[in-house]
């Protein structure tokens, strides 16, 4: 255990209220309780300080610091959950912050939240390590030097008054802001100036969709897509399960239609038409790859078909060429049309005309109001690229007097304009609210660091009428200040975020309350705070009728150059704000399984042509004067030929901090090379075309260099089919993941089951170990699991899994207890991509247990395979003998030197020392806690009362955990499922973890079986 650093004491108490404790109801921020909060932190329950040991072989003297004055509802050593809102991205999912002894430790999904439905993505899960990041700014900077708030404020206020006099332009740049309160305050702040503007800049923007709706519906909004209503779903490149707009919500909705049962053998039909291999594509029933510049063409033809089906044919039919046969498109159109009202077409294109066509299709399919909603639209993307473009022009023409940037690294994400940096340098007043010294902050005159999300009060309205609250769960660890508070100070009506929030709610939110809500503001507020969100009447928006006439025929785009480059974001790295998060960097990409940095995805046949293998460094350049960069290549199965793909949000300033992460020994390779950054910034390839940032760039050339840099990949072999040259006859494919198709399933629910030459019931020896009490088990529905990897981070955060760095991962020594195996099987169109979460299977006949000489891994009477770290001597025999290879060995002492970062460690789980084996414990600490809780209330453990970390956070709700001996439990039911099977069943190790067979909504028969 470590002590809270001193700087946590020196914060001014004023600006902070008291969070509501979920169990004990709300407690509000009066003066005494704020003092309590300070003490609370200081003492942090039992933060133990090690005093000097004075001889005589005694254990070191440990002092235990109780509170001087015990705060209400604070019990040392107990987890307390606070309902809040995630701010990892503008999606604003519901958050349940688990805090212990005053430290937020575990991010979980808010079960009742209407959007995220208890799920939370990897990025949200990884918030805590960002909070305890010792590299965050400790206070305001003035001209790059650390300074005091008072002086900084004074200078800034002066500067603003000058600007007012000179009537200079003020520009405030932020990414999409879902917080009504903050929005209101920004508007109020800007209102003081004559020429002021709030520019919303989304690094990954969907402005084309908004613009398209402005054109077709007369209101610039992003529709709220209701995927759970969609029976037929066609997505053009939109990676809605991975990164597109609101992945957690979409995953939950999508997976709710992916569970065919005996009674209702039905599920949604999902077609993905894309150029690169996206997470969504890997989960589609049917995946079609097309050249990127064909997208609009295919779409317009689809629009044509649908329109004519709807009886309103477009006058000019588009040209009929391209890779996708006309009949194909026709059949797709028919499928959509038959399911009209329950069908939806999505598209990630940044081309307005294309999006208009999409709107037309969805309009004809009667989608509006059913499968997508513009009356209660989504606020999750508001970026207007036109404004950004205009801003850039203004900046380069020196027309801006003051530039304020919050929550986005302008220079990094607008790398396409090389002259921008100088332009920014010329601005008289530049203020950054960044928590770190990013590229813009390092140029800005003043840096007024914002709080970390978990330190600040806020709210969010992701969808019209759904408002959620974010509350602080710890005092600011650094001398930071909320943006809202800074603005308030400068427009000299100082307030605290807490007060601002309450007053705004009183003014605008409270009046919008629904009838059944309490008429008392305090009650209303308290309840919203306790539940974390509240549903209110949506703000009135004027949505015009659909103007079909607006639809123009699409002009044929012609590709130049040999490659077209797609810029995308990794599931683990939505934007550059997370570039300092080691958990996210070490999270294997769900598709490529690569960690630490970005790379150029090349299609297999292109790679063969150029003689490329993984890790060869290639040079990507757009024209002679255009941008260019060098990155290692990755041969990506399922990527369309002539396409390159590079992830954005890499190569961020300060990421060289990771150079020395992981063990340092003489053969170790650094995670970040000398004077380089982690990955390369590909934002330079983003260009503004017809009023939108284009993430697709054609005319790109690729050339191989002589250099190499191995990719840190967690999976080296990618197929369920063993290599042909060593494949035994009749056993070319391994039935690790079992498949069937919907109509096969409809005929026989056991379709796809694999026959083994073994009888699972015959035992070599008599059943000597009956499980009379609990018997814990887990079932994972492979049909729901999308491979989004949220569970991986959930597990890492819950179980103190160390970060080991590039070199260790490269050496196949990643430490994740929960991994997700990704397999490609088949070729081209009918290639299947499987995602299989794999963790300790807790076998009843565990091979690992038998071989341990010192009884360090044994079987519990409740069916758990226990690993006792303190008994382990590290022979690694168990790992060798594990058929699933889920055991992880501490090859080195993985460092825990950063005392601040150590605050992220979960006190309930032992931190493993060097030389011991570790693995998934099925969150035994939670099981034990749950049992103790139940026992002390004299009740049996209720089903669902104990949830494993991976299960809790799973957005797809694919994991079921519980007591197999409990006949009423969900797990018992799940085990009865005809799709259920166990991996490597034929070994008769009798795993406690089962899987549910994959069912694809396809016509042809299943692969295996």
């Amino acid at each position: 255990m470590t002590q809270i650093p001193d700087n946590s004491r020196t914060n001014n108490a004023d600006s902070h209220g008291q969070p509501a404790v979920l169990e004990t109801g709300g407690v509000f921020g009066d003066e005494s309780s704020t003092i309590n909060r300070r003490r609370f932190l200081e003492a942090a329950g039992f933060s133990i300080s090690l005093a000097a040991l004075t001889g005589c072989g005694r254990a070191p003297v440990e002092t235990a610091l109780p509170f001087p004055i015990q705060p209400v509802g604070a019990i040392p050593g107990r987890f307390q959950d606070y309902a809040s809102t995630c701010a990892g991205c503008p999606t604003a999912c519901g958050l349940l912050v688990g805090t212990r002894d005053g430290r937020p430790l575990k991010m979980e999904g808010l079960p009742e939240h209407p959007l995220s439905r208890g799920g939370l993505c990897a990025v949200g899960q990884a918030l805590p390590i960002g909070l305890y990041d010792s590299h965050r700014l400790t206070g305001p900077l003035s001209a790059g030097k650390s300074s005091e708030w008072a002086s900084v404020d004074q200078e800034i206020i002066q500067a603003f008054s000058q600007i007012k006099e000179q009537k200079k332009a003020v520009r405030f740049v932020t990414p999409t802001i879902t917080s009504p309160t903050l929005q209101a305050n920004i508007d109020a702040f800007l209102a003081q100036f004559e020429n002021a503007k709030h520019v919303v800049f989304d690094a990954i923007s969907s402005s084309a969709i908004l613009d398209a709706h402005e054109q077709t519906h007369g209101v610039r909004v992003l529709p709220h897509y209701l995927l759970d209503k969609a029976k037929v779903l066609i997505s053009f490149g939109a990676d809605f399960l991975g990164t597109w707009i609101s992945p957690v919500e979409f995953t939950a909705a999508w997976s709710s239609r992916r569970a065919p049962t005996e009674e209702y053998p039905e599920m949604s039909y999902h077609v993905q038409i894309e150029s690169r291999m996206s997470l969504t594509g890997s989960n589609a029933d049917r995946r079609v790859t097309i050249a990127p510049n064909e997208q609009h063409l295919v779409l317009s033809r689809l629009a044509h078909e649908v329109a004519s089906l709807a009886g309103k044919p477009l006058e000019n039919s588009p040209p009929l060429e391209g890779s996708l046969a006309d009949t194909e498109i026709a059949s797709l159109a028919r499928k959509l049309w038959e399911a009209r009202g329950e069908s939806l077409v999505l598209c990630d294109s940044q081309d307005k005309a294309t999006q208009v066509a999409v709107n037309l299709i969805n309009h004809h399919l009667e989608g509006y109001g059913k499968t997508l909603d513009v009356k209660r639209p989504s606020n999750q993307r508001q970026g207007s690229d036109r404004d950004v473009q205009q801003l850039v022009e203004e900046l380069e023409a020196d027309q801006v007097g003051a530039l304020l940037v919050a929550d986005v690294d302008l220079l990094h994400d607008l790398a396409s304009c090389q002259t921008l940096a100088d332009a920014v340098g010329r601005i008289p007043l530049t203020i950054s609210f960044s928590q770190r010294e990013d590229e813009f902050a390092s140029l800005a005159k003043f840096v007024c660091p914002d709080h970390h999300v978990l330190e600040s009060w806020s709210d969010a309205e992701p969808i019209g009428g759904l408002i959620s609250l974010a509350q602080p769960t710890i005092r600011p660890l650094r001398e930071t200040r909320a943006v809202l508070e800074s603005l308030a100070v400068w427009s000299d009506r100082p307030t605290t975020a807490y007060e601002a929030l309450q007053s705004h709610w009183k003014k605008t939110i409270f009046p919008r309350r629904q009838k059944e809500a309490s008429a008392q503001f305090v009650k209303f507020w308290e309840q919203s705070l306790r539940e974390g969100f509240v549903e209110v009447e949506a703000a009135k928006s004027v949505v015009g009728d659909f103007k079909a006439g607006e639809v123009k025929p699409l002009a044929q785009q012609t590709a130049t150059g040999d490659f077209s480059l797609i810029l995308y974001t990794k599931v683990s790295m939505p934007d550059s704000r997370h570039s300092h998060n080691p958990w996210l960097h070490e999270l294997p990409d769900p598709i490529s399984k690569v960690t630490w940095g970005n790379y150029v995805c090349v299609s297999p046949s292109d790679a063969k042509e150029l003689g490329l293998v993984d890790g060869d460094i290639v040079k990507v350049s757009a024209g002679d004067e255009g941008p260019q960069l060098e990155l290692p290549a990755l041969v990506q199965t399922g990527q369309h030929d002539g396409v390159l793909a590079i992830a954005l949000a890499y190569g961020c300033k300060g990421t060289d901090r990771f150079a020395k992460i992981g063990p340092q020994w003489f053969e170790a390779r650094p995670t970040v090379l000398e004077n380089e950054l982690l990955g390369k910034n590909a934002a330079a390839f983003v260009e503004f075309r017809d009023g939108a940032q284009q993430y697709l760039r054609s005319g790109v050339t690729l050339s191989k260099t002589s250099k190499r840099r191995d990719l840190a990949t967690t999976q080296l072999y990618n197929s369920l089919e063993v290599p042909a040259e060593v494949a035994p006859h009749g056993a070319e494919r391994r039935d690790i993941v079992q498949h069937t198709t919907l109509n096969a399933f409809a005929k026989d629910t056991h379709a796809g089951a694999v026959e083994h030459h073994f009888d699972g019931d015959t035992q070599l020896w008599p059943e000597d170990h009956p499980k009379t009490g609990h018997a814990w088990g887990m079932v994972i529905d492979l049909n729901k699991c999308t491979g989004c990897s949220a569970c991986v981070i959930a597990c890492q955060s819950e179980n103190n899994v160390p970060v080991v760095g590039y070199d260790e991962v490269r050496r196949q020594r990643e430490m994740h207890w929960m991994r997700i195996d990704r397999y490609y099987t088949g070729e081209g169109e009918d290639m299947d991509v499987d995602h299989q979460p794999m963790m300790c299977q807790h076998c009843d006949n565990a091979p690992c247990e038998t071989v341990c000489p010192v009884l360090a891994t044994v079987h519990s009477s409740e069916g758990l395979n226990e690993q006792v770290y303190n008994r382990c001597v590290g022979t690694r025999y168990c790992a060798n003998n594990c058929p699933y290879k889920v055991r992880r060995f501490n090859w080195f002492k993985y460092e825990h030197d950063d005392t601040l970062q150590n605050l992220v460690l979960n006190p309930e789980v032992t931190v493993r020392s060097r030389g011991v084996m570790e693995k998934c414990s099925m969150c035994v600490q939670r099981i034990e806690a749950g049992k103790v809780e139940a026992r002390s209330q004299g009740l049996p453990v209720a089903d669902g009362a104990i949830q494993t970390a991976c299960q809790q956070s799973c957005p797809a709700n694919a994991i079921v955990f519980g007591d197999i001996n409990d006949q009423e439990s969900k797990i018992y039911e799940a085990l009865e499922n005809p799709r259920r099977y166990r991996v490597l069943e034929e070994l008769n190790v009798r795993p406690s973890v089962s899987y549910l067979r994959v069912v694809k909504n396809r016509d042809e028969e299943s692969h295996s079986g």
């Binding site: 002092t63 235990a64 001087p68 019990i75 303190n870 008994r871 103790v932």
Partner: protein, 217 residues
């Protein structure tokens, strides 16, 4: 002849050595066994007085013991529940009152030096009002019962099923300064668990598991 003598001498020596070893066994302790550890505390708090003489229930101060894994060392404000009024040993205060009665004056407040430390920690002035600007400090109690980080003991689990505090902490109510009563070795825990499962606790049947993961996770 000589040989026989030497052998006899050797044998005697051996017996002597063995007897020494056996006698030593009693006092000999394994390296990590802290049994009997009784560190000096910042405030000379007497469990004998409070728990013994005054019969204050353990859970009155260690209130978390039923709801958390830690029994919880009481916060200083808990002490103030009584020591707002009791500022010195009872007899001393009584004498003062008697004296005051005789001398027809208001009894003046006597503050014992140990209790003064408490008031200082809470930053209270002589009439127990918080001193402006001063912030209360935690009292740095010295931990008596230290388990290694990989061994997890949960007070809630034991207290709620009716394991008496003394079972592990010994006759605390007789201790002037608290000392580690048991060895706190793994064997000691395991044996207690076995007994509990066999004999139950206070006549009630319990299942005290000996699964490794109950304590090690």
């Amino acid at each position: 002849m000589q040989q026989r003598v030497t052998t006899i001498v050797l044998l005697i020596g051996l017996c002597f050595g063995l007897s020494l070893l056996v006698s030593a066994m009693g006092t000999w302790r394994l390296p990590d066994n802290q049994q009997g550890y009784a560190p000096k505390q910042p405030i000379a708090y007497s469990h004998r007085l409070h728990a013994g003489e005054l019969q204050i229930d353990c859970k009155f101060c260690h209130s978390a013991s039923e709801s958390s894994r830690h029994a919880g060392i009481p916060s200083a404000d808990v002490c103030m529940k009584c020591h707002r009024y009791v500022t010195a040993p009872f007899d001393v205060m009584q004498q003062e009152m008697k004296l005051a009665d005789k001398e027809k004056r208001k009894p003046e407040m006597i503050v014992s030096e140990e209790l003064q430390k408490l008031y200082d920690a809470l930053a209270l002035d002589e009439n127990f009002q918080p001193i402006e600007g001063a912030t209360p400090q935690s009292i740095p109690w010295v931990r008596v019962h230290n388990l290694p980080d990989y061994a997890r003991f949960n007070h809630q689990a034991h207290v709620t099923v009716g394991v008496s505090c003394q079972k592990c902490h010994g006759p605390v109510e007789t201790m002037e300064r608290v000392r580690q009563h048991a060895t706190l070795s793994m064997g000691w825990c395991v044996n207690c668990h076995r007994d509990a499962t066999r004999e139950g606790i206070n006549g009630r049947k319990v299942h005290a598991s000996t699964n490794c993961s109950v304590c090690h996770h």
